[in-house]
Every structure is written in structure tokens, then in C-alpha cells.
């Protein structure tokens, strides 16, 4: 639910979910809680869990900085303590959290962790920093170390753990530091996770995060001590998405009931106009005519059947399309700058499409970029046989970078509408003969108040017709621009290649002729030949075919005759 750009107060559903989860959490052991919700929490698989931890911590820092109007600078480091045992630390330059609120902000599961924030944009899993702290505690039995510094007061350091029975933080080793520090530093240990390189690695997650956040400076030190730094290319913070009410068209019966149960309004009709976007008096009139019960009743006593009836009536009622001005794209220039700095392609094209609405009634917007050549794509090792030897060669192949609200999607690539759409593009038309083996980085960012994921894992976007169509249009737009470049480049290369072919053989031809005929003016022959080559290439460029361009007739002897 995290990706919903919803103000907390207006999303009673979230509260309920938290309550429910927490009840569950109290009833079962901590381990059970994580196990049961593994998929949903992004904790299935050792590598994925590692990525989820990094995601939660980095997102928390990014959001804090942006809300405080600070250009974010985040340092991530991972060190290996043992087999599948790591220590992760994330340090930001954000506003920090005041000492008195630090423990409760970080150490209370699913409650108040985002107290200093109004809206949440990137969150994908919604497990929160407290969930991460709990996961650390659960797998290692060790507390998490926090250091916080605000502009006021001293820099505080403490260790916290969470009492799972009462859902309260337990503070230990609290002390003050002499060093001046502003921001939040968090350091925790985990077992049963693994760090490895590749498409779904932390490295890749951070690289993609840096691409989507050109205003971010990000440093990373991996367990081998290798350091990577992404320096911000934009010195302006993105605007913060404003809160928005849900559009009636996208509401399900279940959601309607949840909203109704937490309604402040006394009557269903006022509940509708206050809870939903674009729900005016005209709409209420229409719905009340279509519904089979009195809309003056208390929304809290709404039955399942009545809620169903309401949804039915809503479906038959016309609504103004949802407002789209609350969507905040990364921006064409910003994506260009970060792709240029991080991917280092030869050529790139980026488009931010106009926002539009998809079937459920949610606003969404697509951003797409294609970077070609240079260091675009990813390096892969390919085994090649050269004679009897097998040599491993590093070659560039295509990559598709997916984002949902700027948050990188690293898993389930095959099942994602973004991947499928990118692969369905007729790349050949744009001069890319083999998409898979070309140096191409394709970027797609889907921005919406409600991302239609394929599953609770929230790692892939489902095939919504409107979304797929928009992605396709966006990709075609940028591919066309890149295609013009590629085709022109290929033409240039071909020309050079041709010139080379003639140039390398010409001296041998002339030497042989001079030797046979005793011709004295060798220089003239060489000069004339080279002029003819240039002339021919010029003509070719002008599209004029010379007689020698005709296909040479195949004169191979079809028969194998075993003759000497």
C-alpha cells in the first residue's frame, strides 16, 4: 500500500492493516510473522531479503531528506561477518530525529515510523525501518545501533531492540557523541541473507536508485571493500507529491467497506463526497438514484451487499477523470543527466509522457528512456570457442531498468508488463538487429497512486491494457530517436569498413600488376584506385548503384569430385 500517495489521516485502511498485522504479530512468534508474510514483505530468498533491507533503509533516508528540503547524501556499506552473516550500515545527511522521539520512531513496529513525513512515495514493501530492525534482531539476537543528530542539541547514539510482546522499543547503551553530526546513521546485523553481484544485486539496486534520483549523492562500499560513488547531477529537489483522495472508479467492495467503517461522516452521501476524489453532488444524486438503499444511513453500518450496490451504482455514474497533477515524474532532463553520468551511453533519448488514467480509475504516467552504445547495457560473460580453446569474453547485452514510482523493480522481470512491452518493441525497425545482444539500456518508470502489481510480492507490474499501451508509445517515441542515430552511425561505420576493405587489398593488387606488366607508374595506379574507392562510396551515399554492385553470380562447383 505504500506506493499510494495518500495522506495518513485519509487512509484508515492502512491503520487497520497495521493493527491487524500487529495483532497477528502479537499472537504468533516474531519468526512466524515474518515467515507468514515473507512474500509480501519482500523477504523471500536470501538475495532478495538483502535487497529489501537496503531498499527500506535507503528509502527511509531519501524520504526524510526530501521532506526536510535537504539534498540527500547517503552512504551504504555492507560488511561480511560470516557465512550468510552481514552488517549493514546506512548513513544519511537528513534532518535526524530528536532524541526523545528516536526510539519510538524507529523501534515501534508498523506504527509511527514515518511520523515526520506526510506522504510516502517510494515505499514498496511497507515493512519500514522498524521491520528491518526486528528482522535483524530475529536473525541475530542483536540490537540495532542508531546515531542521530539534528541541528539542535547533541549527537545521540543508542542501541535499540523491540519487545515483540508489547511492541515497544528497548534502549540500551545510550550516550552522546562529541562529533558534530547531522542526519541519521543506522547499523544492524543480519543472518540468512546473501550478498552477490548480478542483475538483482544491491549494486544494481543502488545504481538504479541513483539513476532515478539525480539529486542524490550515493556512496556504497561492498563486502569486498570496493567503493562506488554516484554523484548528483541535479541540484534541485523533486517536488513532493501532494496527497490525493482515491478516485471512486478504482474502489473495490472491500476497500469501500474499510473506508466506510472508519468514516467521520454521519451519512453515506457525505462520506462519499468527503472520502473520494471527484465525488460531487451530481455524482451523489446519480448514485442515490441507482442504489437500492437510502444513502442517509450511517456509513459505519454499511453491509457487504450495500457496499456492492454502491460500487455498482458508481460504475454506472460518470465521474471526471482523476486529477493527475499530483504525479511527480523524475523529468526528462533529470533522467538524461543521470543516464549520461551513470550509464555513459553514446546516445540517449528520454520522454516523460503526459499523465493519463487507466481502467481502475487511477492516474498514471510513464517515463521512458533508451540509452545506446558506450557503456549502455550490462556486461555479461560469454564463452566462446576459438579453435580448441574455450575463452570467456565480456560482452555488452541489453538491460531493462524498471521503476514503480522511482523505486527499482529488480525481481520477477519476466512476468512484468514493462519487460514484456520493451521486448515486444520491433527493435529491428530502429536499427537494433538483436535486442538481447545490443548495448542498450531501456528505462521505464511507472508513476501512479496505485501501481497494479502482479502479486503481493510487488515486484512486477501486471498487463493492464492502458498502461501497456502508454509504455509502448513512450518506448516507440524514444526508440525512434535512438534508431535514427543508430542507423546513421551504422552507415558511417559501413562506409569506413568498406573503405578499409578496399584500402587493405589495393597495394597487393597494384604490386602484382606492376610485377607482371613492369608498369613504371605505381603511384598513379594507387592514386587512381583510391580515388575510385572514394568516388564509389560517395555515389553509394547518394544512392546511386554502380554496375559492380550487382550480385556476383555464384560460380561454385556444386559437385564434389575428389580431384586434385
Amino acid at each position: 500500500m505504500a506506493e499510494k500517495v495518500l495522506e495518513k489521516k485519509e487512509t484508515p485502511r492502512k491503520e487497520v492493516e497495521a493493527e491487524q498485522l500487529f495483532t497477528e504479530f502479537k499472537e504468533h512468534s516474531v519468526a512466524d510473522f515474518f515467515k507468514k508474510n515473507k512474500q509480501m514483505l519482500g523477504l523471500s530468498g536470501k538475495q532478495r531479503t538483502m535487497t529489501t533491507i537496503i531498499h527500506e533503509l535507503v528509502t527511509n533516508s531519501l524520504d526524510a531528506c526530501e521532506e526536510a528540503g535537504i539534498l540527500p547524501e547517503i552512504e551504504v556499506s555492507i560488511s561480511e561477518l560470516g557465512s550468510e552473516y552481514y552488517e549493514i550500515s546506512v548513513v544519511d545527511n537528513g534532518p535526524g530525529i530528536p532524541e526523545d522521539k528516536l526510539a519510538s520512531a524507529m523501534g515501534k513496529l508498523l506504527a509511527g515510523t514515518k511520523f515526520h513525513r506526510l506522504v510516502q512515495t517510494r515505499g514498496q514493501q511497507g515493512i519500514g525501518v522498524s521491520g528491518i530492525i526486528l528482522l535483524s534482531q530475529m536473525t541475530t539476537g542483536k540490537p540495532t545501533k542508531l546515531i542521530s543528530g539534528t541541528n539542535k542539541g547533541k549527537t545521540v547514539s543508542m542501541e535499540i531492540s523491540i519487545d515483540s510482546k508489547t511492541n515497544t522499543p528497548k534502549v540500551s547503551d545510550k550516550h552522546y557523541l562529541e562529533n558534530k553530526f547531522k542526519g541519521l546513521a543506522i547499523k544492524c546485523k543480519f543472518k540468512d541473507i546473501v550478498y552477490k553481484k548480478g542483475q538483482s544485486s544491491v549494486d544494481e539496486y543502488l545504481r538504479r536508485t541513483a539513476i532515478a534520483n539525480p539529486h542524490l549523492t550515493l556512496k556504497f562500499q561492498d563486502p569486498n571493500g570496493e567503493a562506488t560513488k554516484y554523484t548528483r547531477t541535479v541540484n534541485k529537489l523533486p517536488s513532493i507529491p501532494t496527497a490525493v483522495k482515491p478516485h471512486p472508479r478504482g474502489v473495490t467492495v472491500d476497500e469501500m467497506l474499510t473506508y466506510a467503517r472508519h468514516a467521520q461522516a454521519r451519512k453515506v452521501n457525505s462520506f462519499l463526497t468527503t472520502t473520494f476524489d471527484r465525488f460531487g453532488q451530481t455524482s451523489v444524486d446519480s448514485v442515490s438514484q441507482l442504489a437500492h438503499f437510502d444513502l442517509n444511513k450511517d456509513p459505519r453500518s454499511l453491509s457487504w451487499e450495500e457496499a456492492e450496490d454502491l460500487i455498482k451504482a458508481i460504475k454506472q455514474t460518470k465521474f471526471i477523470a482523476p486529477s493527475t497533477d499530483n504525479l511527480v515524474p523524475i523529468g526528462e532532463d533529470q533522467i538524461k543527466k543521470s543516464l549520461k553520468a551513470i550509464v555513459e551511453p553514446e546516445f540517449l533519448a528520454v520522454v516523460t509522457r503526459k499523465p493519463t488514467v487507466y481502467q481502475g480509475g487511477y492516474a498514471f504516467q510513464i517515463e521512458a528512456g533508451v540509452a545506446y552504445g558506450g557503456k549502455a547495457g550490462r556486461l555479461i560473460s560469454v564463452e566462446k570457442t576459438s579453435g580448441k580453446e574455450v575463452i570467456t569474453e565480456e560482452v555488452r547485452s541489453s538491460e531493462i531498468i524498471r521503476y514503480a514510482n522511482k523505486a527499482p523493480l529488480l525481481f520477477d522481470a519476466g512476468g512484468c508488463a514493462i519487460t514484456k512491452t520493451a521486448e515486444s518493441v520491433d527493435w529491428k525497425r530502429y536499427g537494433v538487429n538483436n535486442f538481447d545482444t545490443s548495448p542498450i539500456t531501456v528505462l521505464v518508470n511507472l508513476i501512479s497512486v496505485h501501481i497494479p502489481y502482479t502479486s503481493a510480492g510487488k515486484s512486477a507490474v501486471s498487463d493492464d491494457t492502458d498502461i501497456v499501451a502508454e509504455i509502448k508509445l513512450a518506448l516507440m517515441d524514444v526508440s525512434r530517436k535512438v534508431g535514427i542515430y543508430i542507423i546513421e552511425k551504422k552507415r558511417e561505420e559501413e562506409k569506413k569498413e568498406k573503405k578499409k576493405v578496399f584500402a587493405k587489398y589495393a597495394p597487393y593488387v597494384v604490386d602484382a600488376l606492376v610485377h607482371t606488366t613492369g608498369e613504371k607508374n605505381k603511384e598513379l595506379l594507387l592514386k587512381n584506385l583510391s580515388n575510385m574507392v572514394l568516388e564509389k562510396l560517395k555515389m553509394e551515399e547518394a544512392g546511386i548503384k554502380a554496375p559492380e554492385d550487382e550480385v556476383i553470380e555464384d560460380d561454385s562447383v556444386a559437385e564434389e569430385e575428389f580431384e586434385e
Binding site: V509, L529, E553, A558, E561, F562, E563
Partner: protein, 386 residues
């Protein structure tokens, strides 16, 4: 005339004289290779795209001459320009080979086709490629030059390895080797190793005392017949080709047929490969279609092995199974114009239907001397040819 008769003619067979084929002098051929190069120099000087013209080979330009009964090369020409990406490399290679042949002729040298390959192979400057990557590349270009200057490679100073053997009462003179004179029935059991070039200016046929030429596919059968003294008893000249007949063996068969009027009888394994050996002797080959006139012997006869022999001589239990490739080849043979006779069609059909083949040496199933004592004498005497 390149060769003059120096000794008396054979007892039975008068020498019939040479064709114009052998009358071109080395100078003439040298002049033609020079002309090829001169034309191209002129083109370059005039600023026109340089091209090299030769004849198209392969099925598209090969036809069966019904009148002459052998394969001929058509008139289709191919022009190979230098300024064509696909042709530039071959153009360069052609110039190298043409130049080298010109040099051989000028200096009176000869080289094997493997030697010219090595002589011309070098790394193209500033690249990782060679002027020739393999002998197959230079071999192909040699054929181009042959056709462009309208001669055979032997005239260009090139020759292939010796292949095939000759045995029988035939006296030769090796003019390139101290004018050695020798009779091929007194060189021991192996006979004489046939040179790749047996043109009169190198090998002179001094005397022939025989009634026929028997061309044998396998070396083993050639040796068997020598051991059984078949040549002496039946007044035959034996030519063992060791597989497909090389140019030298073919020229020798041709010369014996037309210069000494000897009938030619071919004896191969009973399979598509063996039958094609016969076909090449009789009608020429596609690769040398231009030279059929000096290679093909249209009235050559085929004595065996045939699938009819299997029945006649009770060889059913010594046949071999034909592989898929053999069957495919047999089907191809059925389509060649020179296999269109009723007898050949039914023989090929039988082979395809039964999927069997029979080797020459399967005759040993009867007894080692069966082939010399019974099979060949009986079939040749009664003229049971296919």
C-alpha cells in the same frame, strides 16, 4: 608440334597425332597472363572500375553435349570487380595467382598447387587476415585464371600431386627426367606412378602393346590383377585410379584411347561413388567441363560391379548396405543426362530400392583369382557392359 615421334609406332596401334590443345607454346600462355594484367592496368589508368572476367562454372553453366557425348562448359561469363565488397578479396587473390603463373612461365619453373599457395600466402598488412587462408582459396582462383586465359593449369606451370598407377606393356619416355625410357610391365608389381602432367612434352608414349585399357577404382583390385598376371594374359593396360581419377590419369586414358585407339573399360565398386568415377572417365566432370575434349572418353565401357552381378555370380551375402548419403547420390545420378539410358536407370533404381552396394573385392568371396580367371574374362569376352 610439341612432340615428335622419335621411335617406331606400336605394333598394333598407330599413333594418331596430337590435337591443337598441346600446340600452344608456353610463350603464348605467358602472353595471355600478361594481357590479363595489362587490361586491368589500363582500366585503372583510365579511371574505370577494374574488373576481371572469367567463365562461370558449376551447374548453371555446364551442359551435356548430346552430339559429343560429354560435359561442356557454356559461354556464361562472370565479371569480378575490385570495387565490390564481396569480390575485392578474390580479385586481389586472382591478381597474385595470375602474376605468379606469369612468373613461372617466364622463368620456366613449375610448382605444385600447394607450393603456389605457400608462395603467395602472407599476412595482409595491418590486418589479422592472410592473402590466402587455405589452399582451397588459391585452388579456386587457379581455376579462375585457367578459364580466363583459356588453358589448363599444367600449361600455367602448375601441377597436382601424382595419383594413380599404370601397369602393362607400354613404353614411356620421361622427357623431364633425362629422357628415361621404361616399359611399365617391368617396374615391379606397383607399376608406374602416374604424374599429374602427362602431356607429350613431358611424357612421351613410345610404344604400346595392348588390346585394351582397364581402369580400376581401388588400388587393392589393381594389385590383385597384377598378381594374377591378368595384364599379361589378356594383353591389357591397367590403370589404378585409387578413387576418383585425377587429371593425369584421365589424360592418360584419353591419350591411349585417341592416340592409340585402345578401347577403355572401367571397373569400379558397385555403388554411386564408383559409378561416378566411370561417369567422369566417360563424360568428363563439371569442375573440368571446359577440358572435357581432352579428358572425356565417351565410348568407355563399364564392366562392373553391377547389381546384376550379385544375382549372376551369387554374391547376395557379400553386399553392403547403402548409407543415406549413397542413396541420395544415386538419386542425383539418375537425373544426369549421361545416366539416362534404360540400363543405367534400372541399375540405379535397383540400388535405390534394395539399398545395397557391392565392392569389387567382394568377388574374393568366390576365390582370390575369381576376378581374373572368370569374372573379367567372361564379361569382357561376352561384352556384358552397362
Amino acid at each position: 608440334m610439341a612432340a615428335k615421334k622419335e621411335t617406331k609406332a606400336g605394333k598394333k596401334h598407330e599413333h594418331k597425332g596430337l590435337d591443337t590443345y598441346e600446340t600452344e607454346t608456353t610463350r603464348e600462355i605467358e602472353e595471355r597472363t600478361l594481357q590479363v594484367a595489362k587490361n586491368i592496368v589500363d582500366q585503372i589508368k583510365r579511371g574505370t572500375s577494374p574488373t576481371f572476367t572469367t567463365k562461370v562454372r558449376g551447374l548453371s553453366n555446364v551442359y551435356f553435349d548430346e552430339e559429343k557425348k560429354y560435359i561442356q562448359l557454356g559461354d556464361k561469363q562472370v565479371t569480378r570487380p575490385f570495387l565490390n565488397l564481396g569480390a575485392a578479396r578474390k580479385f586481389m587473390q586472382t591478381m597474385l595467382v595470375n602474376d605468379k603463373c606469369n612468373e613461372y612461365l617466364k622463368e620456366g619453373k613449375t610448382a605444385s598447387i600447394r607450393e603456389i599457395y605457400y608462395e603467395l600466402k602472407r599476412t595482409v598488412a595491418n590486418t589479422k587476415e592472410n592473402t590466402f587462408e587455405g589452399q582451397n582459396e588459391s585452388d579456386e582462383v587457379i581455376v579462375d585464371v585457367e578459364h580466363a586465359v583459356n588453358t589448363i593449369r599444367e600449361k600455367l606451370g602448375l601441377h597436382a600431386e601424382a595419383k594413380g598407377s599404370l601397369y602393362g606393356d607400354i613404353t614411356l619416355k620421361d622427357r623431364k627426367h633425362d629422357n628415361d625410357i621404361f616399359n611399365c610391365n617391368s617396374l615391379g608389381r606397383g607399376g608406374w606412378s602416374i604424374m599429374s602432367r602427362i602431356e607429350p612434352e613431358e611424357i612421351e608414349i613410345v610404344d604400346v602393346n595392348a588390346d585394351m585399357v582397364l581402369v580400376i577404382e581401388t588400388a587393392a583390385m589393381y594389385n590383385r590383377l597384377i598378381e594374377e598376371k591378368y595384364a599379361r594374359q589378356h594383353n591389357a593396360i591397367l590403370i589404378g585410379t585409387s578413387g576418383q581419377a585425377a587429371r593425369g590419369a584421365r589424360r592418360l586414358v584419353h591419350r591411349l584411347r585417341y592416340e592409340y585407339d585402345l578401347p577403355v573399360i572401367v571397373f569400379t565398386d558397385g555403388d554411386p561413388y564408383g559409378w561416378y568415377i566411370y561417369s567422369v572417365i566417360k563424360s568428363g566432370s563439371m569442375a573440368l567441363a571446359a577440358h572435357s575434349k581432352y579428358m572425356a572418353v565417351p565410348d568407355a565401357k563399364y564392366v562392373g560391379m553391377t547389381l546384376t552381378d550379385v544375382e549372376t555370380y551369387g554374391l547376395q551375402n557379400v553386399t553392403e548396405r547403402m548409407k543415406d548419403g549413397d542413396v541420395k547420390r544415386a538419386k542425383e545420378l539418375m537425373n544426369y543426362d549421361w545416366f539416362k539410358s534404360k540400363e543405367w536407370q534400372s541399375e540405379l533404381k535397383l540400388a535405390i530400392d534394395k539399398k545395397i552396394r557391392i565392392e569389387q573385392q567382394a568377388l574374393a568371396n568366390k576365390s582370390l583369382d575369381f576376378v581374373a580367371r572368370k569374372y573379367l574374362p567372361e564379361k569382357i569376352e561376352k561384352e556384358i557392359f552397362l
